[in-house]
Protein backbone atom coordinates (compact mmCIF):
# COMPACT_ATOMS: atom_id res chain seq x y z
CA UNK A 1 0.00 0.00 0.00
CA UNK A 2 1.28 3.36 -0.86
CA UNK A 3 1.67 5.92 1.95
CA UNK A 4 -0.73 8.35 0.28
CA UNK A 5 -3.43 5.71 0.03
CA UNK A 6 -3.07 4.89 3.72
CA UNK A 7 -3.53 8.59 4.57
CA UNK A 8 -6.71 8.74 2.58
CA UNK A 9 -8.17 5.75 4.43
CA UNK A 10 -7.41 7.40 7.79
CA UNK A 11 -9.15 10.57 6.76
CA UNK A 12 -12.11 8.64 5.57
CA UNK A 13 -12.49 6.70 8.81
CA UNK A 14 -12.24 9.87 10.85
CA UNK A 15 -14.84 11.55 8.76
CA UNK A 16 -17.26 8.70 9.24
CA UNK A 17 -16.72 8.78 13.01
CA UNK A 18 -17.50 12.47 13.20
CA UNK A 19 -20.59 11.97 11.13
CA UNK A 20 -21.78 9.24 13.44
CA UNK A 21 -21.31 11.44 16.47
CA UNK A 22 -23.54 14.31 14.91
CA UNK A 23 -26.63 12.06 14.64
CA UNK A 24 -26.99 11.86 18.48
CA UNK A 25 -29.95 13.90 20.09
CA UNK A 26 -29.28 17.31 21.54
CA UNK A 27 -31.41 17.43 24.72
CA UNK A 28 -30.36 20.95 25.61
CA UNK A 29 -32.34 22.51 22.72
CA UNK A 30 -35.70 24.11 23.80
CA UNK A 31 -38.49 23.72 21.28
CA UNK A 32 -39.90 27.03 19.91
CA UNK A 33 -43.15 28.32 21.38
CA UNK A 34 -45.93 27.97 18.79
CA UNK A 35 -47.53 31.27 17.66
CA UNK A 36 -51.30 31.39 18.50
CA UNK A 37 -53.41 31.24 15.24
CA UNK A 38 -57.17 31.30 14.33
CA UNK A 39 -58.44 27.93 13.26
CA UNK A 40 -59.01 27.54 9.48
CA UNK A 41 -62.81 26.66 9.65
CA UNK A 42 -63.95 29.84 11.46
CA UNK A 43 -62.13 31.96 8.86
CA UNK A 44 -64.17 30.39 6.01
CA UNK A 45 -67.56 31.12 7.77
CA UNK A 46 -66.74 34.77 8.14
CA UNK A 47 -66.09 35.11 4.45
CA UNK A 48 -69.40 33.52 3.76
CA UNK A 49 -71.09 35.86 6.16
CA UNK A 50 -69.43 38.79 4.52
CA UNK A 51 -70.44 37.51 1.13
CA UNK A 52 -73.94 36.89 2.33
CA UNK A 53 -74.08 40.34 3.80
CA UNK A 54 -72.90 41.80 0.56
CA UNK A 55 -75.37 39.67 -1.38
CA UNK A 56 -78.18 40.69 0.92
CA UNK A 57 -77.23 44.30 0.60
CA UNK A 58 -77.04 43.96 -3.15
CA UNK A 59 -80.37 42.15 -3.22
CA UNK A 60 -81.87 44.84 -1.08
CA UNK A 61 -80.45 47.45 -3.39
CA UNK A 62 -81.76 45.55 -6.37
CA UNK A 63 -85.14 45.27 -4.72
CA UNK A 64 -85.07 48.93 -3.84
CA UNK A 65 -84.10 49.76 -7.41
CA UNK A 66 -86.72 47.43 -8.81
CA UNK A 67 -89.28 48.98 -6.53
CA UNK A 68 -88.15 52.43 -7.56
CA UNK A 69 -88.29 51.44 -11.24
CA UNK A 70 -91.70 49.96 -10.73
CA UNK A 71 -92.80 53.12 -8.98
CA UNK A 72 -91.38 55.13 -11.87
CA UNK A 73 -93.17 52.95 -14.35
CA UNK A 74 -96.39 53.22 -12.37
CA UNK A 75 -96.03 56.99 -12.28
CA UNK A 76 -95.49 57.07 -16.02
CA UNK A 77 -98.50 54.96 -16.91
CA UNK A 78 -100.87 56.30 -14.27
CA UNK A 79 -104.04 57.43 -16.11
CA UNK A 80 -105.74 60.76 -15.67
CA UNK A 81 -109.48 61.37 -15.75
CA UNK A 82 -111.76 64.06 -17.15
CA UNK A 83 -115.16 65.52 -16.54
CA UNK A 84 -117.98 64.81 -18.99
CA UNK A 85 -117.41 66.29 -22.42
CA UNK A 86 -114.37 68.19 -21.13
CA UNK A 87 -110.67 68.14 -21.91
CA UNK A 88 -109.61 70.46 -19.08
CA UNK A 89 -107.10 68.99 -16.63
CA UNK A 90 -108.32 68.65 -13.07
CA UNK A 91 -106.13 69.23 -10.02
CA UNK A 92 -105.80 65.50 -9.56
CA UNK A 93 -104.81 65.09 -13.20
CA UNK A 94 -102.13 67.77 -12.86
CA UNK A 95 -100.69 66.01 -9.81
CA UNK A 96 -100.61 62.74 -11.70
CA UNK A 97 -98.85 64.41 -14.60
CA UNK A 98 -96.40 66.18 -12.29
CA UNK A 99 -95.33 62.79 -10.94
CA UNK A 100 -94.30 61.75 -14.44
CA UNK A 101 -92.00 64.70 -15.01
CA UNK A 102 -88.98 63.62 -12.85
CA UNK A 103 -89.13 60.15 -14.36
CA UNK A 104 -89.15 61.57 -17.84
CA UNK A 105 -86.26 63.84 -16.94
CA UNK A 106 -84.27 60.88 -15.58
CA UNK A 107 -84.87 58.94 -18.78
CA UNK A 108 -84.21 61.22 -21.71
CA UNK A 109 -84.50 58.39 -24.23
CA UNK A 110 -87.92 57.39 -22.99
CA UNK A 111 -90.95 58.04 -25.21
CA UNK A 112 -94.62 58.02 -24.24
CA UNK A 113 -97.83 57.54 -26.15
CA UNK A 114 -100.89 59.21 -24.68
CA UNK A 115 -104.24 57.83 -25.79
CA UNK A 116 -107.39 59.83 -25.18
CA UNK A 117 -110.62 58.02 -24.35
CA UNK A 118 -114.23 59.03 -23.73
CA UNK A 119 -117.30 57.50 -22.24
CA UNK A 120 -120.01 56.12 -24.50
CA UNK A 121 -122.54 58.90 -24.15
CA UNK A 122 -121.55 61.24 -26.92
CA UNK A 123 -121.52 60.74 -30.64
CA UNK A 124 -118.95 57.99 -31.10
CA UNK A 125 -117.38 59.76 -34.08
CA UNK A 126 -117.30 63.16 -32.39
CA UNK A 127 -115.81 61.40 -29.37
CA UNK A 128 -112.73 60.62 -31.46
CA UNK A 129 -112.12 64.36 -31.65
CA UNK A 130 -112.74 64.76 -27.92
CA UNK A 131 -110.29 61.95 -27.15
CA UNK A 132 -107.71 63.63 -29.33
CA UNK A 133 -108.17 66.86 -27.43
CA UNK A 134 -107.79 65.06 -24.10
CA UNK A 135 -104.55 63.43 -25.17
CA UNK A 136 -103.27 66.76 -26.47
CA UNK A 137 -104.11 68.47 -23.18
CA UNK A 138 -101.86 66.09 -21.27
CA UNK A 139 -99.05 66.43 -23.80
CA UNK A 140 -99.32 70.21 -23.66
CA UNK A 141 -99.09 70.15 -19.86
CA UNK A 142 -95.99 67.94 -19.89
CA UNK A 143 -94.45 70.15 -22.54
CA UNK A 144 -95.02 73.08 -20.20
CA UNK A 145 -93.04 71.17 -17.57
CA UNK A 146 -90.05 70.94 -19.89
CA UNK A 147 -90.71 67.62 -21.60
CA UNK A 148 -90.08 67.80 -25.33
CA UNK A 149 -93.25 67.30 -27.31
CA UNK A 150 -91.27 65.14 -29.72
CA UNK A 151 -91.03 62.51 -27.00
CA UNK A 152 -94.81 62.19 -26.76
CA UNK A 153 -97.14 60.71 -29.35
CA UNK A 154 -100.87 61.16 -28.96
CA UNK A 155 -103.75 59.15 -30.32
CA UNK A 156 -107.48 59.03 -29.75
CA UNK A 157 -109.61 55.95 -29.40
CA UNK A 158 -112.78 57.83 -28.51
CA UNK A 159 -115.22 55.45 -26.90
CA UNK A 160 -113.88 52.40 -28.77
CA UNK A 161 -111.85 50.95 -25.87
CA UNK A 162 -113.73 51.27 -22.60
CA UNK A 163 -112.25 49.86 -19.41
CA UNK A 164 -115.64 49.70 -17.70
CA UNK A 165 -118.72 48.50 -19.52
CA UNK A 166 -121.32 48.62 -16.80
CA UNK A 167 -123.00 51.76 -18.06
CA UNK A 168 -123.14 53.42 -14.67
CA UNK A 169 -121.93 56.93 -13.89
CA UNK A 170 -118.90 55.38 -12.16
CA UNK A 171 -118.15 53.38 -15.29
CA UNK A 172 -118.46 56.47 -17.46
CA UNK A 173 -116.03 58.31 -15.16
CA UNK A 174 -113.45 55.51 -15.44
CA UNK A 175 -113.69 55.60 -19.22
CA UNK A 176 -113.14 59.37 -19.55
CA UNK A 177 -109.38 59.11 -19.38
CA UNK A 178 -105.93 59.47 -20.86
CA UNK A 179 -103.81 56.35 -20.85
CA UNK A 180 -100.01 56.52 -20.97
CA UNK A 181 -97.91 53.86 -22.65
CA UNK A 182 -94.12 53.66 -22.76
CA UNK A 183 -93.27 53.11 -26.41
CA UNK A 184 -89.44 53.39 -26.17
CA UNK A 185 -86.90 53.12 -23.38
CA UNK A 186 -88.92 50.86 -21.11
CA UNK A 187 -86.13 48.27 -20.86
CA UNK A 188 -83.65 50.84 -19.54
CA UNK A 189 -85.98 52.66 -17.24
CA UNK A 190 -84.29 54.46 -14.35
CA UNK A 191 -86.05 55.85 -11.32
CA UNK A 192 -86.27 59.55 -10.88
CA UNK A 193 -83.15 61.27 -9.51
CA UNK A 194 -83.41 62.06 -5.83
Amino acid sequence: MLPSTRSLLVVAVLSLSVAACRKKPEPAVVPPTPTPTTPQAPRVNQDSIDAANRAAAEAAERARLASAIEAARAALVAPIYFDYNMSDLTEASRATLDAKVPVLNANPSLRLRISGHTDERGSDEYNLALGQRRAAAARRYLEGRGIAASRIDIVSFGEERPVATGGTEADFARNRRDEFEIVAGADQLRPADR
Partner: protein
Protein backbone atom coordinates in the same frame (compact mmCIF):
# COMPACT_ATOMS: atom_id res chain seq x y z
CA UNK B 1 -157.54 24.40 -55.33
CA UNK B 2 -155.98 25.27 -52.01
CA UNK B 3 -155.20 28.78 -53.25
CA UNK B 4 -158.69 29.19 -54.56
CA UNK B 5 -160.16 28.25 -51.18
CA UNK B 6 -157.93 30.74 -49.41
CA UNK B 7 -158.67 33.73 -51.58
CA UNK B 8 -162.42 33.13 -51.70
CA UNK B 9 -163.09 34.55 -48.23
CA UNK B 10 -160.99 37.60 -49.14
CA UNK B 11 -162.99 38.18 -52.29
CA UNK B 12 -166.20 37.68 -50.41
CA UNK B 13 -165.10 40.25 -47.87
CA UNK B 14 -164.16 42.64 -50.64
CA UNK B 15 -167.57 42.31 -52.18
CA UNK B 16 -169.09 43.33 -48.86
CA UNK B 17 -167.00 46.55 -48.74
CA UNK B 18 -167.34 48.20 -52.11
CA UNK B 19 -166.59 51.59 -50.60
CA UNK B 20 -162.98 50.61 -50.11
CA UNK B 21 -162.32 50.05 -53.76
CA UNK B 22 -164.35 53.10 -54.68
CA UNK B 23 -162.21 55.25 -52.46
CA UNK B 24 -159.01 53.86 -53.97
CA UNK B 25 -160.24 54.19 -57.51
CA UNK B 26 -160.14 57.90 -58.15
CA UNK B 27 -158.87 57.71 -61.71
CA UNK B 28 -161.13 59.31 -64.29
CA UNK B 29 -161.17 56.91 -67.18
CA UNK B 30 -160.24 58.44 -70.48
CA UNK B 31 -158.49 61.35 -68.90
CA UNK B 32 -155.43 59.72 -67.35
CA UNK B 33 -153.68 56.42 -67.81
CA UNK B 34 -151.99 55.53 -64.59
CA UNK B 35 -152.59 55.32 -60.93
CA UNK B 36 -153.32 58.28 -58.75
CA UNK B 37 -150.70 58.75 -56.08
CA UNK B 38 -150.61 61.44 -53.47
CA UNK B 39 -148.39 61.77 -50.46
CA UNK B 40 -150.04 60.20 -47.47
CA UNK B 41 -152.09 57.76 -49.50
CA UNK B 42 -151.06 54.26 -50.41
CA UNK B 43 -152.62 52.71 -53.49
CA UNK B 44 -153.26 49.01 -53.07
CA UNK B 45 -150.94 46.86 -55.15
CA UNK B 46 -151.12 43.13 -55.74
CA UNK B 47 -148.14 41.13 -56.93
CA UNK B 48 -149.25 38.02 -58.79
CA UNK B 49 -147.49 34.70 -58.77
CA UNK B 50 -144.26 34.97 -60.75
CA UNK B 51 -144.32 32.27 -63.40
CA UNK B 52 -141.68 30.93 -65.72
CA UNK B 53 -138.42 29.06 -65.27
CA UNK B 54 -136.41 29.85 -62.17
CA UNK B 55 -136.94 31.22 -58.68
CA UNK B 56 -140.31 32.83 -59.20
CA UNK B 57 -141.18 32.51 -55.52
CA UNK B 58 -138.07 34.41 -54.51
CA UNK B 59 -138.68 37.09 -57.12
CA UNK B 60 -142.24 37.62 -55.93
CA UNK B 61 -141.15 37.75 -52.28
CA UNK B 62 -138.57 40.40 -53.15
CA UNK B 63 -141.00 42.48 -55.21
CA UNK B 64 -143.58 42.38 -52.41
CA UNK B 65 -141.03 43.30 -49.78
CA UNK B 66 -139.42 46.06 -51.84
CA UNK B 67 -142.77 47.69 -52.61
CA UNK B 68 -143.80 47.35 -48.98
CA UNK B 69 -140.54 48.84 -47.65
CA UNK B 70 -140.91 51.78 -50.03
CA UNK B 71 -143.87 52.84 -47.88
CA UNK B 72 -145.70 54.39 -50.85
CA UNK B 73 -148.06 51.54 -51.70
CA UNK B 74 -150.11 49.10 -49.67
CA UNK B 75 -149.55 45.45 -50.49
CA UNK B 76 -152.79 43.51 -50.97
CA UNK B 77 -152.31 39.77 -50.64
CA UNK B 78 -148.96 39.21 -49.04
CA UNK B 79 -149.34 35.59 -50.05
CA UNK B 80 -150.29 34.46 -53.53
CA UNK B 81 -152.96 32.32 -51.92
CA UNK B 82 -154.72 35.48 -50.79
CA UNK B 83 -155.22 36.64 -54.38
CA UNK B 84 -157.52 35.48 -57.11
CA UNK B 85 -155.74 33.16 -59.54
CA UNK B 86 -154.92 34.86 -62.80
CA UNK B 87 -154.44 33.19 -66.12
CA UNK B 88 -154.04 35.75 -68.84
CA UNK B 89 -155.81 39.05 -68.20
CA UNK B 90 -156.71 39.72 -64.55
CA UNK B 91 -160.30 40.12 -63.51
CA UNK B 92 -160.03 43.86 -62.85
CA UNK B 93 -163.44 44.07 -61.23
CA UNK B 94 -162.50 41.44 -58.71
CA UNK B 95 -159.19 43.09 -57.88
CA UNK B 96 -160.87 46.47 -57.59
CA UNK B 97 -163.19 45.07 -55.00
CA UNK B 98 -160.12 43.84 -53.07
CA UNK B 99 -158.86 47.41 -52.91
CA UNK B 100 -156.22 46.84 -55.56
CA UNK B 101 -155.32 49.77 -57.78
CA UNK B 102 -152.31 48.20 -59.48
CA UNK B 103 -151.46 44.63 -60.40
CA UNK B 104 -147.85 43.56 -60.88
CA UNK B 105 -147.63 40.60 -63.23
CA UNK B 106 -144.09 39.29 -63.64
CA UNK B 107 -142.74 36.34 -65.60
CA UNK B 108 -139.28 34.83 -65.77
CA UNK B 109 -138.34 34.39 -69.39
CA UNK B 110 -136.20 31.60 -70.84
CA UNK B 111 -133.73 34.28 -71.91
CA UNK B 112 -133.03 35.11 -68.27
CA UNK B 113 -135.03 38.29 -67.96
CA UNK B 114 -137.85 39.37 -65.72
CA UNK B 115 -140.80 40.43 -67.82
CA UNK B 116 -142.93 42.82 -65.77
CA UNK B 117 -146.33 44.25 -66.63
CA UNK B 118 -148.21 46.61 -64.33
CA UNK B 119 -151.95 46.75 -64.74
CA UNK B 120 -153.96 49.83 -63.93
CA UNK B 121 -157.07 48.34 -62.39
CA UNK B 122 -159.12 51.51 -62.77
CA UNK B 123 -158.13 51.84 -66.41
CA UNK B 124 -158.70 48.11 -66.97
CA UNK B 125 -155.46 47.75 -68.84
CA UNK B 126 -151.71 47.48 -68.78
CA UNK B 127 -149.98 50.75 -67.96
CA UNK B 128 -146.32 49.70 -68.30
CA UNK B 129 -144.34 46.74 -69.59
CA UNK B 130 -140.60 46.15 -69.48
CA UNK B 131 -138.07 43.32 -69.54
CA UNK B 132 -135.39 43.54 -66.83
CA UNK B 133 -132.28 41.42 -67.47
CA UNK B 134 -131.33 39.32 -64.45
CA UNK B 135 -127.57 39.32 -63.94
CA UNK B 136 -125.59 36.71 -62.08
CA UNK B 137 -126.49 33.42 -60.51
CA UNK B 138 -129.93 33.12 -58.94
CA UNK B 139 -130.02 34.63 -55.44
CA UNK B 140 -126.55 36.12 -55.82
CA UNK B 141 -125.96 39.76 -54.88
CA UNK B 142 -125.92 40.73 -58.55
CA UNK B 143 -129.13 38.82 -59.27
CA UNK B 144 -130.82 40.35 -56.25
CA UNK B 145 -129.79 43.82 -57.41
CA UNK B 146 -131.47 43.11 -60.76
CA UNK B 147 -134.75 42.26 -59.04
CA UNK B 148 -134.45 45.31 -56.76
CA UNK B 149 -133.95 47.52 -59.83
CA UNK B 150 -137.14 46.10 -61.33
CA UNK B 151 -139.01 46.78 -58.09
CA UNK B 152 -137.80 50.39 -58.03
CA UNK B 153 -139.02 50.93 -61.58
CA UNK B 154 -142.41 49.40 -60.75
CA UNK B 155 -142.69 51.79 -57.82
CA UNK B 156 -141.86 54.68 -60.10
CA UNK B 157 -144.55 53.59 -62.58
CA UNK B 158 -147.15 53.45 -59.82
CA UNK B 159 -146.20 56.41 -57.64
CA UNK B 160 -144.05 58.60 -59.86
CA UNK B 161 -141.14 58.19 -57.44
CA UNK B 162 -138.33 55.71 -57.88
CA UNK B 163 -138.03 53.19 -55.08
CA UNK B 164 -134.98 52.65 -52.91
CA UNK B 165 -134.74 48.88 -53.14
CA UNK B 166 -131.66 48.88 -55.37
CA UNK B 167 -129.54 50.51 -52.69
CA UNK B 168 -127.28 49.25 -49.98
CA UNK B 169 -126.30 50.47 -46.56
CA UNK B 170 -122.64 50.46 -45.59
CA UNK B 171 -122.07 50.07 -41.89
CA UNK B 172 -119.58 49.07 -39.20
CA UNK B 173 -119.68 45.71 -37.46
CA UNK B 174 -116.92 44.55 -35.17
CA UNK B 175 -114.76 47.48 -36.19
CA UNK B 176 -114.91 46.50 -39.87
CA UNK B 177 -116.83 47.74 -42.87
CA UNK B 178 -119.90 45.83 -44.02
CA UNK B 179 -122.78 46.37 -46.42
CA UNK B 180 -126.33 45.10 -46.49
CA UNK B 181 -129.08 45.32 -49.10
CA UNK B 182 -131.83 47.80 -48.34
CA UNK B 183 -134.19 44.94 -47.48
CA UNK B 184 -131.81 43.68 -44.76
CA UNK B 185 -130.61 40.71 -46.78
CA UNK B 186 -127.16 39.84 -48.07
CA UNK B 187 -125.07 41.38 -45.25
CA UNK B 188 -121.45 40.96 -46.28
CA UNK B 189 -118.11 42.43 -45.15
CA UNK B 190 -116.36 44.92 -47.40
CA UNK B 191 -113.02 43.19 -47.38
CA UNK B 192 -111.21 42.55 -44.14
CA UNK B 193 -109.82 45.94 -43.21
CA UNK B 194 -110.87 47.86 -40.15
CA UNK B 195 -112.87 51.04 -40.64
CA UNK B 196 -115.32 53.53 -39.21
CA UNK B 197 -117.69 56.14 -40.64
CA UNK B 198 -118.31 54.82 -44.17
CA UNK B 199 -119.52 57.34 -46.76
CA UNK B 200 -120.63 56.57 -50.31
CA UNK B 201 -119.35 58.20 -53.47
CA UNK B 202 -122.28 59.55 -55.53
CA UNK B 203 -121.59 56.90 -58.18
CA UNK B 204 -121.89 54.11 -55.63
CA UNK B 205 -118.52 52.72 -56.69
CA UNK B 206 -116.39 54.00 -53.81
CA UNK B 207 -116.73 54.11 -50.04
CA UNK B 208 -114.61 56.51 -48.00
CA UNK B 209 -113.93 55.63 -44.40
CA UNK B 210 -111.72 56.30 -41.39
CA UNK B 211 -109.09 53.60 -41.04
CA UNK B 212 -107.87 53.11 -37.45
CA UNK B 213 -104.37 52.18 -36.41
CA UNK B 214 -102.32 52.43 -33.24
CA UNK B 215 -100.98 55.74 -34.52
CA UNK B 216 -104.34 57.33 -35.23
CA UNK B 217 -106.83 57.38 -38.10
CA UNK B 218 -106.32 57.94 -41.81
CA UNK B 219 -108.93 58.49 -44.49
CA UNK B 220 -109.18 55.58 -46.89
CA UNK B 221 -111.21 55.05 -50.05
CA UNK B 222 -112.28 51.57 -51.07
CA UNK B 223 -113.08 50.78 -54.68
CA UNK B 224 -115.96 48.34 -54.54
CA UNK B 225 -115.43 47.38 -58.16
CA UNK B 226 -111.80 46.29 -57.77
CA UNK B 227 -111.88 45.47 -54.07
CA UNK B 228 -108.82 47.63 -53.43
CA UNK B 229 -108.29 50.50 -51.01
CA UNK B 230 -106.00 53.48 -50.95
CA UNK B 231 -105.09 55.95 -48.25
CA UNK B 232 -105.91 59.58 -48.88
CA UNK B 233 -104.35 61.27 -45.86
CA UNK B 234 -100.70 60.91 -44.87
CA UNK B 235 -100.46 62.46 -41.44
CA UNK B 236 -97.93 60.98 -39.02
CA UNK B 237 -100.07 61.59 -35.96
CA UNK B 238 -103.56 62.69 -35.06
CA UNK B 239 -106.97 61.57 -36.24
CA UNK B 240 -108.50 61.92 -39.70
CA UNK B 241 -112.15 61.04 -39.27
CA UNK B 242 -115.73 61.37 -40.63
CA UNK B 243 -115.11 61.67 -44.39
CA UNK B 244 -117.78 62.56 -46.92
CA UNK B 245 -117.75 63.02 -50.69
CA UNK B 246 -119.02 66.20 -52.26
CA UNK B 247 -122.18 65.70 -54.35
CA UNK B 248 -120.14 65.95 -57.56
CA UNK B 249 -117.77 63.29 -56.26
CA UNK B 250 -114.60 65.29 -56.79
CA UNK B 251 -113.84 66.36 -53.22
CA UNK B 252 -113.47 64.65 -49.88
CA UNK B 253 -114.22 66.65 -46.77
CA UNK B 254 -113.18 65.21 -43.44
CA UNK B 255 -112.11 66.23 -39.95
CA UNK B 256 -108.52 66.23 -38.76
CA UNK B 257 -107.17 66.97 -35.31
CA UNK B 258 -103.74 66.48 -33.83
CA UNK B 259 -103.49 68.76 -30.88
CA UNK B 260 -105.41 71.97 -30.64
CA UNK B 261 -108.87 70.89 -31.65
CA UNK B 262 -110.24 69.27 -34.78
CA UNK B 263 -111.10 71.10 -38.00
CA UNK B 264 -112.65 70.30 -41.35
CA UNK B 265 -110.37 69.83 -44.33
CA UNK B 266 -111.02 69.35 -48.03
CA UNK B 267 -108.88 67.39 -50.44
CA UNK B 268 -109.23 66.30 -54.04
CA UNK B 269 -110.81 62.86 -53.80
CA UNK B 270 -108.72 61.28 -56.54
CA UNK B 271 -105.86 63.58 -57.58
CA UNK B 272 -104.67 64.05 -54.02
CA UNK B 273 -102.64 67.15 -53.20
CA UNK B 274 -102.40 69.09 -49.98
CA UNK B 275 -105.59 69.35 -47.93
CA UNK B 276 -106.98 72.79 -47.25
CA UNK B 277 -108.59 73.72 -43.98
CA UNK B 278 -112.16 74.94 -44.30
CA UNK B 279 -113.19 75.51 -40.70
CA UNK B 280 -111.67 77.76 -38.08
CA UNK B 281 -112.49 76.05 -34.82
CA UNK B 282 -109.75 77.79 -32.84
CA UNK B 283 -109.04 74.84 -30.59
CA UNK B 284 -112.54 73.36 -30.63
CA UNK B 285 -113.77 70.21 -32.29
CA UNK B 286 -115.43 70.45 -35.70
CA UNK B 287 -116.38 67.21 -37.40
CA UNK B 288 -119.09 65.16 -39.09
CA UNK B 289 -119.62 67.21 -42.25
CA UNK B 290 -122.67 66.73 -44.48
CA UNK B 291 -123.02 68.44 -47.86
CA UNK B 292 -126.12 70.19 -49.07
CA UNK B 293 -127.42 68.49 -52.25
CA UNK B 294 -126.08 71.33 -54.43
CA UNK B 295 -122.65 71.06 -52.82
CA UNK B 296 -122.58 74.71 -51.88
CA UNK B 297 -122.97 74.38 -48.12
CA UNK B 298 -121.89 72.07 -45.33
CA UNK B 299 -123.60 71.14 -42.07
CA UNK B 300 -121.27 69.96 -39.32
CA UNK B 301 -120.94 69.44 -35.59
CA UNK B 302 -118.92 71.95 -33.62
CA UNK B 303 -118.15 72.50 -29.97
CA UNK B 304 -117.09 76.09 -30.53
CA UNK B 305 -119.60 77.31 -27.98
CA UNK B 306 -118.92 74.65 -25.37
CA UNK B 307 -121.48 71.90 -26.09
CA UNK B 308 -121.65 70.32 -29.53
CA UNK B 309 -124.25 71.88 -31.83
CA UNK B 310 -125.06 71.75 -35.55
CA UNK B 311 -123.66 74.59 -37.67
CA UNK B 312 -123.93 75.41 -41.35
CA UNK B 313 -121.30 77.14 -43.44
CA UNK B 314 -120.51 77.69 -47.07
CA UNK B 315 -118.49 74.88 -48.60
CA UNK B 316 -115.33 76.95 -48.21
CA UNK B 317 -115.98 77.37 -44.48
CA UNK B 318 -117.19 80.96 -44.55
CA UNK B 319 -120.54 82.32 -43.37
CA UNK B 320 -120.89 80.02 -40.38
CA UNK B 321 -124.36 79.89 -38.87
CA UNK B 322 -125.59 78.05 -35.79
CA UNK B 323 -128.48 75.84 -36.90
CA UNK B 324 -129.60 74.11 -33.72
CA UNK B 325 -130.29 77.11 -31.58
CA UNK B 326 -131.70 77.11 -28.10
CA UNK B 327 -135.23 76.02 -27.43
CA UNK B 328 -134.72 72.29 -27.21
CA UNK B 329 -135.21 72.26 -23.46
CA UNK B 330 -132.01 70.31 -23.08
CA UNK B 331 -128.82 72.19 -23.79
CA UNK B 332 -126.47 69.27 -23.79
CA UNK B 333 -125.53 67.84 -27.12
CA UNK B 334 -126.64 67.88 -30.75
CA UNK B 335 -124.60 66.16 -33.39
CA UNK B 336 -124.32 64.07 -36.59
CA UNK B 337 -126.13 66.24 -39.15
CA UNK B 338 -127.41 64.65 -42.36
CA UNK B 339 -128.63 67.04 -45.04
CA UNK B 340 -131.74 65.67 -46.76
CA UNK B 341 -131.54 64.92 -50.50
CA UNK B 342 -134.29 67.48 -51.18
CA UNK B 343 -132.23 70.09 -49.33
CA UNK B 344 -135.05 71.13 -47.06
CA UNK B 345 -134.16 69.59 -43.72
CA UNK B 346 -131.23 68.37 -41.70
CA UNK B 347 -131.57 65.21 -39.63
CA UNK B 348 -129.47 65.01 -36.48
CA UNK B 349 -129.28 63.44 -33.05
CA UNK B 350 -130.18 65.40 -29.95
CA UNK B 351 -129.56 64.40 -26.39
CA UNK B 352 -132.68 64.30 -24.24
CA UNK B 353 -132.49 63.06 -20.67
CA UNK B 354 -129.02 61.75 -21.37
CA UNK B 355 -130.00 59.72 -24.44
CA UNK B 356 -129.81 60.61 -28.11
CA UNK B 357 -132.96 60.79 -30.21
CA UNK B 358 -133.45 61.30 -33.93
CA UNK B 359 -134.79 64.68 -35.03
CA UNK B 360 -135.02 66.85 -38.10
CA UNK B 361 -134.86 70.61 -38.37
CA UNK B 362 -136.40 72.55 -41.21
CA UNK B 363 -134.05 74.92 -42.99
CA UNK B 364 -137.01 77.13 -43.90
CA UNK B 365 -138.43 77.91 -40.48
CA UNK B 366 -136.12 75.87 -38.20
CA UNK B 367 -139.02 73.89 -36.85
CA UNK B 368 -137.92 70.69 -35.16
CA UNK B 369 -139.53 67.29 -35.34
CA UNK B 370 -138.64 64.41 -33.05
CA UNK B 371 -138.96 60.89 -34.44
CA UNK B 372 -137.76 58.58 -31.67
CA UNK B 373 -138.18 58.45 -27.94
CA UNK B 374 -137.43 54.86 -26.92
CA UNK B 375 -133.91 53.83 -25.95
CA UNK B 376 -130.88 55.49 -27.55
CA UNK B 377 -131.08 56.39 -31.25
CA UNK B 378 -128.28 58.08 -33.16
CA UNK B 379 -126.36 58.69 -36.36
CA UNK B 380 -129.13 59.28 -38.94
CA UNK B 381 -128.43 59.02 -42.67
CA UNK B 382 -130.90 59.66 -45.46
CA UNK B 383 -131.96 57.25 -48.16
CA UNK B 384 -131.82 58.71 -51.68
CA UNK B 385 -135.61 59.14 -51.65
CA UNK B 386 -135.28 61.78 -48.92
CA UNK B 387 -137.99 60.03 -46.99
CA UNK B 388 -136.32 57.16 -45.15
CA UNK B 389 -133.59 57.39 -42.56
CA UNK B 390 -131.24 54.68 -41.37
CA UNK B 391 -129.97 55.11 -37.84
CA UNK B 392 -128.43 53.16 -34.97
CA UNK B 393 -130.67 52.13 -32.11
CA UNK B 394 -130.18 50.13 -28.95
CA UNK B 395 -133.87 49.36 -28.56
CA UNK B 396 -133.25 45.61 -28.81
CA UNK B 397 -130.41 45.71 -26.30
CA UNK B 398 -127.54 45.88 -28.77
CA UNK B 399 -126.71 48.45 -31.40
CA UNK B 400 -128.54 47.64 -34.63
CA UNK B 401 -129.49 49.57 -37.74
CA UNK B 402 -133.11 50.55 -38.16
CA UNK B 403 -134.99 52.23 -40.99
CA UNK B 404 -137.52 54.96 -40.32
CA UNK B 405 -140.14 56.23 -42.76
CA UNK B 406 -140.31 59.90 -41.81
CA UNK B 407 -143.79 60.27 -43.30
CA UNK B 408 -145.53 57.40 -41.55
CA UNK B 409 -143.08 56.89 -38.63
CA UNK B 410 -142.97 53.23 -39.59
CA UNK B 411 -139.89 51.48 -38.23
CA UNK B 412 -138.20 48.31 -39.37
CA UNK B 413 -135.05 46.61 -38.16
CA UNK B 414 -132.41 46.39 -40.87
CA UNK B 415 -129.58 44.40 -39.25
CA UNK B 416 -129.54 41.53 -36.80
CA UNK B 417 -126.83 39.61 -35.04
CA UNK B 418 -123.57 41.26 -34.08
CA UNK B 419 -123.74 44.93 -33.11
CA UNK B 420 -123.94 47.27 -36.10
CA UNK B 421 -123.61 51.05 -36.38
CA UNK B 422 -122.54 53.95 -38.62
CA UNK B 423 -125.09 53.15 -41.31
CA UNK B 424 -124.61 55.11 -44.55
CA UNK B 425 -127.18 54.78 -47.32
CA UNK B 426 -125.88 54.38 -50.86
CA UNK B 427 -127.19 56.19 -53.91
CA UNK B 428 -129.27 54.19 -56.38
CA UNK B 429 -127.11 51.35 -57.61
CA UNK B 430 -126.95 49.68 -60.99
CA UNK B 431 -124.90 47.00 -62.68
CA UNK B 432 -121.46 47.96 -63.92
Amino acid sequence: MMGLRLWRPLVAAALMWPAVSDAQDSTVRGVRIGLQYASGTRPGVAVLEVKGPGRGDSVRAMLVRDLDFGDRVGIVGASVADLPPVSGTPNYELFARLGVSGIVQATLTPAGALHVAVHDVAARGIMQVQDFPLRGVELSAEWRLSVHMAADEVERWITGTRGIAATRIAFVRGGRLWQVDSDGENATPLGTEAGLSPAWHPTGRYVAFARPSDAGYQIGVRDLQTGTSRTITRTTSGSNITPIFSPDGTTLVYAYGEGDGTDLYAVDAFAGGPPRRISAGRGTDNALPSFSPDGRRIAFTSGRIRNPEIYISDADGTNVDLLTTTGFGDQQYRSNPAWSPDGRTVAFQSQLDGRFQIMTISLRDRSVRQYTSDSQNEDPHWAPDGRHLVFTSRRTGSEQLWVLDTESNRLRQLTRGAASRHGAWSPHLSHR
